[in-house]
């Protein structure tokens, strides 16, 4: 074997090992992040953290109960906006898709998906906060809901499209009208994928901070109903992290751990559901 071939082999092995290192580095970042959060935040997670309201500035203790509930309310309301529009819009694209309207819709959804979250915040401020003269959970939910629409829409379309033709044709041969077919056969067949998409969309917006800065604003107390400003986990993390108080830093780590933990759980759940396959075996 000539020296040249030996050299080429060496280069090959070397470069390929290098790529392996790249992959290792990339993946280990995830574990580093988790590790830091667990290490720094783990010790601050206690019952008080989950049940108490924040204490005045400079006093130790207190918790983030209102931020946790606030985030939950925001996500609930955001889903009420984002999921129906995305879901039914996705049905339209998948089932009635031959019109020009459909490609316009797809394009608009992709556009909306690419809008930076801070710009969505500006939009929500002018649409909801200014007219009602109030920072509110509703405004925050509006911003988050908008961000959920494109993900839900495209995924619904994709998964509905993946349902095999024979299912549709079978239903129609039995006399079902188109909408009945969709409602009773196609959607149930694709439900895993759609559920996954909704979960992923939720996980994506659960961590969004920027659009909440000028919509949900912030609240040291419980937020009544939907028309008042509300605390939320990501915004509280941001405020506490840039503050000078050690106690608040501790709480920011703990909140970060809780937030990331929730998001990762939703992601893992979603992907596990998806990997179990669609409800009907493909032909």
């Amino acid at each position: 074997m000539s020296a040249r071939v030996k050299w080429r082999r060496f280069v090959s092995n070397f470069m390929l090992t290098l790529t392996g290192l790249c992959a290792l580095v990339s993946v280990s970042v995830l574990f580093l992040i988790l590790g830091y959060l667990v290490f720094n935040g783990g010790k601050s997670i206690n019952w008080a953290f989950f049940t108490q309201l924040p204490k005045p500035v400079g006093e130790a203790g207190g918790g983030m109960a209102n931020a946790i509930v606030g985030s939950a309310k925001l996500l609930m309301a955001a889903s009420l906006l984002g999921v129906p529009i995305g879901f039914f819009g996705g049905i339209y694209l998948a089932e009635f898709s031959r019109s020009a309207v459909a490609s316009v819709v797809r394009y608009a959804a992709d556009l909306l998906n690419g809008v930076p979250s801070i710009v969505i915040g500006i939009f929500a401020y002018s649409m909801v906060v200014l007219p009602f003269k109030h920072f509110s959970t509703l405004a925050g939910a509006f911003a988050l809901g908008l961000m959920m629409i494109p993900i839900t829409l495209r995924s619904t379309e994709e998964f509905l499209g993946g349902v095999p033709r024979y299912l549709r044709e079978g239903a129609m041969a039995l006399g079902a009208s188109k909408w009945k077919t969709i409602a009773t056969v196609v959607v149930p067949a694709a439900y895993r994928g759609i559920l996954t998409a909704i979960l992923l969309a939720l996980a994506r917006v659960a961590g969004e901070t920027a659009p909440l800065l000028f919509t949900a604003f912030g609240n040291r107390y419980w937020s009544e109903g939907w028309g008042q400003p509300t605390a939320s986990l990501p915004v509280v993390i941001f405020n506490y992290a840039v503050s000078p108080y050690e106690d608040w830093h501790r709480q920011a780590w703990a909140a970060g751990l809780v937030l990331l933990g929730l998001i990762l759980i939703i992601n893992i759940l979603a992907r596990t559901i998806l990997s179990r396959g669609i409800a009907v075996p493909r032909s």
């Binding site: 390929l16 339209y92 089932e95 809008v115 710009v119 829409l153 009208s177 909408w179 992290a241």
Partner: protein, 328 residues
């Protein structure tokens, strides 16, 4: 034989053949119209968003015109606003992010697509997808408490001592700055580069690889000289995607960039980005021109990401279609 009364399934609305009202009585037409309304809402919202951005920046656009894009001054005191320092900050931090993330990302993607056995590849991809799900504020948290001190104590001395003569590495360093923000952004965009590049590489038809190997190339040579060039437009698309994400990133950047509208060649200098300044100053912009200048910045950012996303999609589609043999 008794014939059961069967209703023939509808073949769908044939245009012009039945009156609208009778078509409406069909469940199908209602379903189509209802779902179309929801779908149309998406278009409506998007149009409204662009419209709002355009009209809410009208005063500022009228006052500064295209000069806005090249003015350095940002002074609320005298109502003079220019986008240049923020565009600079946005572009520099994104460039640094790409410089770090692209080699790492493509390397990892090559490993996942070419070398790793499918199960390991899928498992690792799973973790990479999880990394993509980490919210921005968490990256900010890590940036503030870990990367900023690291920058001050380790990275700055390491780069400044040998390379301090170059304008890029001139001190002083405060811990925060372009480089710190760039590093945080790099971590955030690597998953996008990896997942898309991996998919694109996987879609390269195996006959390309095999032909190269049959001709006697090493694994690396077949990958680097045949597969990757074949997939290069798609990989470029993933880079554009990553870039679009980096441009719009707000929280992680604002926590580590230093919040000073500065244009400086030094990577250790503090600066500001478009998203970051909007987040900081939007709620306090008194005076109409001030607020509208911020909205105009939002418009600029929107346009930048819009163009990039469009280009990215075209590139990725072109590559995957090429791979599957569908004529482009």
């Amino acid at each position: 034989m008794a014939t059961a009364k069967t209703t023939l399934p509808n073949a769908g609305p044939v245009s012009g053949s039945r009156s609208f009202l009778s078509r409406l009585r069909d469940g199908d037409e209602i379903a189509r119209l209802t779902t179309m309304v929801f779908a149309a809402t998406v278009v409506l919202i998007t149009l409204l968003l662009v419209y709002e951005l355009w009209t809410d920046s009208a005063l500022a656009r009228a006052k500064f015109g295209l000069h806005f894009l090249v003015t350095r001054v940002w002074d609320p005191n005298i109502d003079q606003y220019g986008a240049l320092p923020f565009m600079y900050g946005t572009l520099v931090t994104s460039a640094v992010a790409l410089l770090i993330a692209v080699p790492l990302g493509i390397g990892a993607a090559i490993f996942l697509a070419e070398l790793a056995p499918p199960r390991i590849s899928d498992t690792l991809q799973f973790f990479i997808d999880l990394l993509a799900a980490v919210p921005s504020v968490i990256y900010g948290l890590l940036g503030v408490f870990i990367i900023v001190p690291l920058m001050r104590t380790v990275i700055f001395p390491a780069l400044n001592e040998p390379l301090g003569f170059m304008p890029f590495f001139k001190g002083p360093s405060y811990g925060v700055g372009f480089l710190t923000a760039g590093i945080v952004l790099a971590i955030m965009v690597i998953p996008y580069i990896i997942s898309v590049s991996r998919e694109v590489l996987l879609s390269v038809p195996s006959d390309q690889r095999e032909a190269a190997l049959a001709l006697g190339s090493t694994r690396w040579e077949s990958t680097w000289k045949v597969v990757v060039p074949f997939a290069k437009t798609g990989i470029l698309g993933s880079v554009f995607l990553a870039l679009a994400r980096a441009l719009g990133e707000t929280m992680a950047v604002t926590m580590v960039i230093g919040n000073t509208p500065t244009i400086s060649a030094s990577l250790f200098s503090p600066g500001d980005s478009i998203a970051s300044v909007i987040a900081n100053q939007f709620t306090e912009a008194t005076g109409d021109v001030y607020l509208q200048a911020l909205v105009e910045l939002g418009l600029v950012l929107f346009l930048m990401t819009f163009i990039l996303n469009g280009l990215a999609r075209i590139l990725i589609v072109v590559t995957t279609q090429k791979g599957s043999g569908v004529p482009v």
